[in-house]
């Protein structure tokens, strides 16, 4: 089975702020940006509970002083602002940017050799962006933001995971 985790910052995210300013300076009409570190774990079903519990309690990918973590189990819109699928006033797009080979062997080794959690077969990591735009042709704007700033096609790839309807629509 596959479980997915989004890790965000409790403090203001400088990357988010700089990316938004840069996109606006490039005249790309993005209203807001939100960023999370994204992890997916392919695991044996009986290991799910142990992995979920351990990953959130040890300081490997989540530092409780500065990070929050959310399991992103379903595709329902959410009312929590920190959730990737938060439904804001404007429509937004959820985009995953990863390296062309997103496998994270280092993290897999940490999980199996240091945290001693068995049953984890594969780990991938990437960056999850929620991009809101006031434009009607929102997807075109999102692709422009990706091409101009948020990804480099020579070693990365992106997937638009879905559109989140805006509350003001």
């Amino acid at each position: 089975m596959l479980i997915e985790l989004a890790v965000g910052l409790k403090v203001p995210d400088n990357v988010e702020i700089t990316a938004l300013r840069t996109l606006r300076a490039l005249s790309i009409n993005v209203a807001s940006l939100k960023r999370w570190e994204y992890y997916s774990f392919e695991i044996d079903e009986n290991m799910e509970e142990q992995l979920r519990e351990t990953l959130l309690s040890v300081d490997v990918i989540v530092n409780a002083n500065k990070n929050y973590a959310l399991w992103i189990d379903n595709e329902q819109a959410d009312m929590d602002k920190n959730h990737p699928r938060y439904m804001g006033r404007l429509p937004s797009f959820l985009v995953l940017v990863e390296e062309q080979d997103p496998a994270d062997e280092h993290l897999l080794r940490i999980i199996s050799e240091r945290l001693l959690i068995g049953g984890v077969k594969h780990v991938e990591r990437g960056t999850l962006w929620r991009i809101s735009t006031p434009e009607k042709e929102g997807e075109g704007i999102v692709r422009q933001a990706l091409e101009q700033l948020l990804f480099n096609r020579h070693y990365q790839k992106y997937k638009i995971l879905g559109k989140i309807r805006g509350g003001g629509e």
């Binding site: 400088n14 990316a19 300076a25 280092h106 700033l149 480099n152 096609r153 020579h154 070693y155």
Partner: protein, 256 residues
């Protein structure tokens, strides 16, 4: 012939501007450290160096935010006039993300991607052996082709890569690959530690076709005096291999 004036372009987060300016001055050119937002003071220099560091804290990707900065458009115009432009480490990342390297089309044609290293994820620093593969650009003319030199690297995102079909062959054919990572005998071994970041074809430095713009991941300003080179302290201030990058730049300007 007056001193050639070189602008060292400083972006927020860079940290090698002073030693780079020192290296420029030590070979007899003058160096002005120009901040990224002093746009009126950029044009009109004889040459430009984008030094190393972490411009904009490497946010999003190393070099990409600086590459979208208005000052880079001015540097592009200066490059089109044939002025020498050198990017060192973070400066190299900016030149690649701006499309100035390799500069065959107006698009971004390559990346300096996160290192592939079997032991460490992220930042890695060490001394490497480099083979000078081309001496036909503004920054390598005082080396001998095939010469093996040592310089330090210090980066997390320095793996030259591209998805452009045939690009690396084109770079090889046109002599645009200026330096390659090798072993001490100059053999290009693709494995770690000889290729310290997993770069395609062991590429450590690339120039544009005209030879006036070069992006290099190693730090020549940190291999300027022999006292900076490991196990060479007794030789003190005598020249180390990185010095000839700056001397070549000066020579290219004096030719004009």
């Amino acid at each position: 012939m007056g001193n050639k004036r070189i602008a060292v372009i400083y972006f927020p987060g860079m940290n090698c501007e002073n030693e780079t300016a020192h290296a420029i001055r030590a070979v007899g050119m003058s160096a002005d450290i120009i901040r990224w937002n002093m746009l009126d003071e950029v044009a009109g220099h004889d040459g430009y160096v984008l030094p190393g560091g972490w411009s904009y804290e490497d946010r999003v990707r190393a070099g990409v935010v600086a590459a979208r900065d208005p000052v880079v458009s001015i540097i592009k115009e200066e490059a089109e006039e044939g002025k020498p432009i050198l990017g060192i480490c973070n400066g190299a990342q900016i030149l690649v993300e701006s499309g100035m390297i390799p500069g065959i089309s107006s698009n971004v044609q390559a990346a300096l991607a996160p290192n592939i290293n079997p032991f460490i994820r992220g930042y890695y620093c060490t001394w490497v052996h480099l083979r000078i593969s081309s001496v036909s650009n503004a920054f390598t003319s005082l080396y001998k082709k095939g010469e093996v030199v040592r310089m330090p690297i210090a980066h997390g995102e320095g793996r030259f890569t591209t998805t452009e079909e045939g690009l690396v062959d084109y770079l090889e054919e046109k002599g645009m690959i200026s330096m390659k990572y090798t072993d001490k005998n100059g053999h290009t071994l693709s494995s770690f530690p000889f290729n310290p970041n997993g770069a395609l074809n062991n590429i450590a430095a690339v120039s544009n076709e005209e030879g006036n713009v070069m992006a290099m991941m190693p730090h020549p300003e940190r291999a300027f005096y022999m006292r900076q080179v490991p196990c060479s302290h007794k030789e003190g201030l005598s020249p180390a291999p990185g010095r000839r990058i700056f001397e070549s730049m000066k020579k290219s300007l004096e030719k004009d």
